[in-house]
């Protein structure tokens, strides 16, 4: 169960370059809190869209919640043979993409999407109904709940993300950026998927909204043990909440492990275009000035406060 990638590769068009290469990754169905980090354009959004089968790999094996995701081409195609260029009409790659296996395997795809809830990087991509409330009700409606039940689920989800009640009947497109983000997140929470994936969910949220969301996710996990996967560039959020970190670089996974080992390796951080959380930067400066001392680098405010008071951080 869970999510399992074996040597998966993906590209957007048959003659394009690999955007995912040699992906080997396993995420359990329960209790994982994974952060995916990495350089702009390294393949993070593409990776999570493969997990919910919005995009289909062309090579390797991908298993999502006991469903085998079929690769896009039946045989691994040798791209530069003349015959294949003809057969797959590679010059019209967009066409091929549209006509690929998607309809054939749509039942599997629908099943996968029931299990995996994905909040997109740009909330606009996800919103389309005429009012906020209808938009959030759309998900549950697909799962054949009664209208009253859908409305209850939608309102519950909107309350969880602190969305102002007086805006429930507003068009989702006439909202501020942070308000739109909250609606998009509520839309996924209302479906109650088994695994929740969020692509840069804290972007556009004000600091209080950010804390509310992160605490909400921690809470959901405590109660339901669902696994949660988050793409983020916010090192302060990552340092505080991650149990496991995956780093992508140029279409590959280059790090998969716990957070302290990553943040204590400055060369690696730099190589991955990452940075220290604010508190860790401060800690190193204070140590340089001989004002504090520590064995483990503080990653959160609480940890640095402990160290300042003369204590030690325990794992």
């Amino acid at each position: 169960m869970g999510i399992n990638f074996q040597n998966v590769a993906f590209r957007y068009s048959p003659l394009g370059k690999d955007v995912l290469q040699d992906i080997n990754l396993e995420v359990e169905e329960n209790d994982e809190f994974v952060f995916i980090l990495g350089h702009t354009g390294s393949g993070k959004s593409t990776l999570v869209q493969n997990i919910n089968a919005l995009l289909l790999p062309y090579k390797g094996k991908l298993n999502v919640m006991d469903h085998q995701v079929i690769t896009r081409y039946r045989h691994p195609i040798k791209l530069n043979t003349k015959l294949n260029k003809k057969r797959y009409n590679l010059n019209k790659s967009k066409h091929l993409f549209a006509k690929s296996n998607i309809p054939v395997y749509s039942r599997t795809l629908r099943n996968i999407r029931k299990h995996i809830g994905l909040v997109f990087q740009f909330p606009e991509y996800q919103l389309f109904e005429s009012t906020v409330l209808k938009d959030v009700m759309f998900g549950p409606k697909n799962f054949k709940y009664s209208k009253e039940e859908c409305e209850r689920l939608a309102k519950e989800a909107l309350e969880l993300v602190d969305f102002p009640k007086e805006l429930y009947d507003r068009s989702p497109f006439l909202l501020s950026g942070g308000q739109m983000r909250r609606v998009a997140i509520a839309g996924i929470l209302a479906i109650n998927p088994d695994v929740i994936i969020l692509d840069e969910p804290t972007v556009g949220l004000d600091p209080k909204g950010k804390d509310t969301l992160m605490n909400l996710l921690v809470d959901i996990q405590k109660k339901t043990h669902k696994s949660i996967i988050i793409i983020s560039h916010d090192m302060n959020v990552v340092a505080r909440y991650a149990k496991r970190i995956i780093v992508m670089k140029q279409s590959r996974i280059v790090y998969d492990g716990e957070k302290r080992r990553l943040f204590e390796d400055l060369d690696k951080l730099h190589e991955y275009n990452l940075d220290l959380p604010t508190v860790s930067g401060l800690s190193m400066e204070l140590k340089k000035k001989n004002l504090i001392n520590y064995k483990h680098l503080p990653l959160t405010i609480e940890e640095l406060e402990t160290v300042i008071k003369g204590g030690d951080i325990y794992e």
Binding site: S45, E124, D206, H233, T278, E285, K309
Partner: protein, 268 residues
């Protein structure tokens, strides 16, 4: 460019989104605007560049009233990068997209091409010049939007959360670039952001709460005032929070640690 708002109010429907706002911004400065979701930051930005018209009050740019006539003079001198870069792209390729803005400024072809390359290189996107903006990742879109706005070399540049999807080093690089253009070219720059580290780059920080300015000062002045920030749905810098949290606690090197935290946070 100098900006002045005199008692400006705005609403989309019944509810006031910007409420009797008075504000002056000097040229050759970086101003950060922070505030809770829905506080009116993006609306304020659109008012300043003339995309929205005040319901009440007057906006002056370089001491001239901003209205239907004068906007024609100012339009080419102002650049705004929207919160969602997708709302901004007009070209089929990255190159076309940037060229579109430059064409509006009647810039010659030769110079145009040189500028396109220069600014795409600056944001590390030169190799994507022939790509369609649609096919870019979130951060790549933001980089292209930034290149497009910078290429216009406007007197006023507004960045509405435009580095929010960049990786940490990318965000730092853009910060450096912005400081450089302010110093070298006397530009007026307004940064709208939820990122406190980014707000710290500014000469001045303005806090909006429900369409009103509730605090206005240097980064140090604003971020020392933890109460007003918390009451506005915001937070202060980690270092200030630590100093405040430990105010009534005794610990070794207290004075030196406090001094060091202040210095590390607000050294400029």
């Amino acid at each position: 460019m100098k900006i002045k708002l005199d008692n400006v109010s705005f609403s989309y429907n019944e509810e006031k989104v910007i409420s009797n706002l008075n504000l002056e911004i000097e040229s050759s400065s970086i101003t950060a605007i922070i505030g809770h979701n829905g506080s009116g930051k993006s609306t304020l930005a659109k008012l300043i560049v003339g995309l929205l018209e005040p319901k009440k009050g007057t906006i002056y740019l370089d001491d001239q009233v901003l209205n239907e006539d004068s906007i024609k003079i100012f339009r080419n001198k102002m650049g705004i990068i929207f919160q969602n870069p997708d709302n901004q792209f007009v070209g089929v390729t990255v190159k076309d997209d940037i060229a579109f803005g430059l064409e509006n400024k009647n810039i010659e072809r030769e110079e145009m091409i040189q500028k396109i390359h220069k600014y795409l290189k600056l944001v590390g996107m030169e190799e994507y010049i022939e790509e369609s903006p649609e096919n870019l990742s979130g951060g790549q879109k933001q980089r292209v939007a930034i290149a497009g706005a910078l290429s216009m070399e406007c007197e006023l540049l507004i960045l509405d959360e435009s580095t929010s999807m960049l990786d940490p080093l990318g965000t730092k690089e853009v910060g450096e670039t912005i400081k450089k253009i302010k110093n070298e070219d006397n530009k007026t720059i307004i940064i709208i952001t939820h990122d406190l580290e980014e707000a710290r780059l500014a000469d001045r920080v303005i806090v909006l709460n429900k369409g009103k300015i509730v605090k206005d000062g240097t980064p140090k002045e604003v971020f020392s005032d933890e109460n007003i920030l918390i009451n506005s749905g915001l937070k202060t810098m980690d270092s200030v929070k630590i100093i405040n949290d430990l105010k009534n606690v005794d610990y070794k090197n207290k004075k030196e640690i406090e001094a060091a935290l202040w210095e590390l946070t607000f050294k400029m």
